[in-house]
């Protein structure tokens, strides 16, 4: 069986190789290592399939003293998403950074930082230690900012600095929470903390601080201010990575903190608090869905539109906290509750997956358009459908998935969330989901409408786009659709631990 640590080791090794090598070898090495990481992630699948979860103690020191690595079905899913998007974005980047000399210089910095970021992301999915999570948050945060500012335009630098300050603030709030938690409980391991969690002012405040920090990093509604400028001003492959993967890492940690570390405070372990905090998060999520989508509709720059769409789509992820917060209040029989709890989990995980693929496809397609036309202004995109059919098709496919129309992965995600909302008797979330879908349709059709408008002057020359770039964008969009067609298989891939019990809270530790 493959060792879990490989998924962190290999990207780091690749980063070092890319840092030391020069010239054309950098991109080649990067792609080679990307493929190797994908292989290792796939290789981990059978172990998770049979055992449910795997735990490794690093350095041979058992949990309270040392740091453990912990992988379960949920983590595997995120690992796989990162690997798939990572490989395709890597192939795209090879074309993107070969454009000209200026991009070559960018590419030389892109590969080492991106591979370090990848290692950090994979580390987050294996993480089982609150302080280790802090260091990993910093690894991902600094590398994400480093990638954002690669293009060195004033806009990207200002956005990157704002991102850096927000990320530093968020991780410091998280660190304060870790300090309080350690002062109250005297240990740092997720599972051990979750087992003896008690309600006290200190643990409650720690919970609040950690969740707050992670919310800022995941850009939930009032804290989303840093996301649109950063994601829209970065180079195209970087935007794809940031929107599809980086925000998901802090969401993953939020799930872990919420369901594994603080089950006693979030109403997961029997005792239901008077006002479930999950309701609050769900409310913000719902607002984010509506507001982010509304803002997206109003944009006239393609990349900014897609970035606001990320704000909206991230909102869906937070509905799970609200959906599951009433599970014990309403659930009389375990069988009935289990049914829609599993649905909520499946919907959320599926949404992470479909949004990751679709958003990466959109940003890569936008990058192709920007390369061809020299701008990402929607007004300049007239009649692009006739002149760049493949890119238009990619935009349409990814858009269909975002909207949640039937043959796509996004449909499965939203359908599951919808059913969970109705089955748990919280119909108001269903309204939010449907409204969000309509707004999404509005901005997707806005993009497509521009591409079909006939243009007065056909003379504007299009710069040629390397086929590697077009095809990877298309591949991502198609993957999104295919995983929708074959929804049963993908759902079957979902972790076994999704039977309504708090994730990985039981077992695993020695």
């Amino acid at each position: 069986m493959t060792h879990m640590l490989w998924v962190v080791l290999l990207p780091f090794l690749g980063a070092l190789c890319c840092l030391i090598l020069r010239g054309r070898a950098v991109a080649g090495t990067g792609i080679l290592f990307s493929l190797a990481v994908l292989a290792v992630c796939t290789n981990l699948l059978p172990g998770i399939w049979t055992q449910g979860q795997i735990r490794v103690e690093l350095g041979g020191w058992a949990a309270p003293l040392g740091i453990g690595l912990h992988l379960d079905g949920l983590g595997t899913f995120f690992l796989l998403l990162t690997a798939i998007v990572g490989v395709l974005v890597g192939l795209y980047a090879a074309g993107f950074f070969a454009q000209d000399k200026k991009h070559n210089a960018m590419g030389r910095h892109f590969w080492p930082i991106w591979l370090l970021l990848w290692g950090g992301l994979n580390g987050v999915y294996l993480c089982s230690d609150v302080f280790n999570a802090y260091v990993l948050l910093e690894v991902t945060g600094l590398s994400a900012v480093g990638l954002t500012v690669l293009s060195k335009t004033t806009a990207s630098l200002v956005a990157g600095l704002r991102y850096l300050l927000a990320a530093m603030f968020a991780s410091l709030m998280y660190l304060l929470g870790v300090g309080l938690l350690y002062a109250a409980c005297g240990q740092l391991d997720f599972v051990l903390l979750g087992q003896d969690m008690t309600q006290s002012p200190a643990t409650l405040t720690a919970f609040g601080l950690m969740v707050f920090g992670l919310l800022v990093k995941t850009a939930l509604l009032p804290f989303h201010f840093w996301l649109p400028p950063a994601h829209s001003s970065a180079p195209a492959p970087v935007s794809a990575i940031l929107s599809a993967l980086v925000v998901k890492a802090s969401f993953f940690l939020l799930l872990r903190i919420w369901f594994t570390v603080f089950p006693a405070l979030t109403g997961q372990a029997g005792s239901s608090p008077v006002l479930p905090p999950g309701l609050f998060l769900g409310l913000l999520g719902g607002l984010a869905v509506l507001w982010g989508s509304l803002q997206a509709v109003r944009q006239i720059r393609l990349k900014l539109l897609i970035a606001y769409s990320t704000v909206g789509q991230l909102g869906y992820l937070f509905l799970i906290f609200a959906l599951l917060s009433v599970s014990h209040g309403a659930g009389g029989g375990p069988s009935g509750a289990t049914d829609w709890t599993a649905m909520a989990w499946t919907g959320t995980v599926f949404h992470v997956f479909s949004h990751g693929l679709a958003k990466a496809a959109l940003f890569l397609a936008a990058g192709c358009l920007a390369l061809a036309m020299g701008t990402d202004d929607l007004n300049a995109m007239r009649n692009i459908a006739g002149r760049m059919p493949v890119i238009t098709f990619t935009l349409a496919m990814a858009g269909v998935s975002l909207m949640g129309l039937p043959p796509s992965a996004g449909f499965v995600a939203k359908w599951m969330l919808l059913r969970a909302a109705l089955a748990s008797g919280q119909w108001w979330w269903a309204v939010v989901i449907i409204l969000g879908g309509l707004l999404t349709a509005a901005y997707v059709f806005k993009i497509l409408a521009y591409t079909f408008v006939p243009s007065q002057d056909e003379t504007v020359p299009l710069r040629p786009v390397p086929p590697a770039m077009t095809l990877t964008a298309l591949a991502l969009a198609l993957l999104c659709a295919v995983s929708g067609f074959r929804a049963e298989e993908v759902i079957a891939l979902l972790p076994h631990g999704l039977d309504g019990s708090p994730l990985s809270a039981q077992g695993g530790s020695p």
Binding site: L142, V149, S151, A155, L161, F169, L176, A183, S232, A234
Partner: protein
Amino acid sequence: MTTFHLYSFAAMLLAALGVYGLITRRHLLRKVMALNIIAGGAFLLLISTAYRNQGAFPDPVPHAMVLTGIVVAISATGFALALIQRIQKQLGQRPDQEAGDENPDQTETSRSGP
């Protein structure tokens, strides 16, 4: 009032002060300083927690955590300051640069923003 409570109170006040500075101060350098003050508060909390152990020596785990935190803080601060310098340089050159230098960048960002 034990030493631990005294210092952890101070830590929390420092952190709150830093957050206030971060929100209300507009100058970027001061924001960076405010972040460092929050970090100082977080570190002080951890170190005073370690000091609670009235045995032979303080708890080394928070000490190690703070050392790691200091490295992270200086890294992020250095990066932020370098970014501020670069932004200042490009804003200072703005009137000249917008016409010529930024054209190759249009693939990433269009200047005809909203």
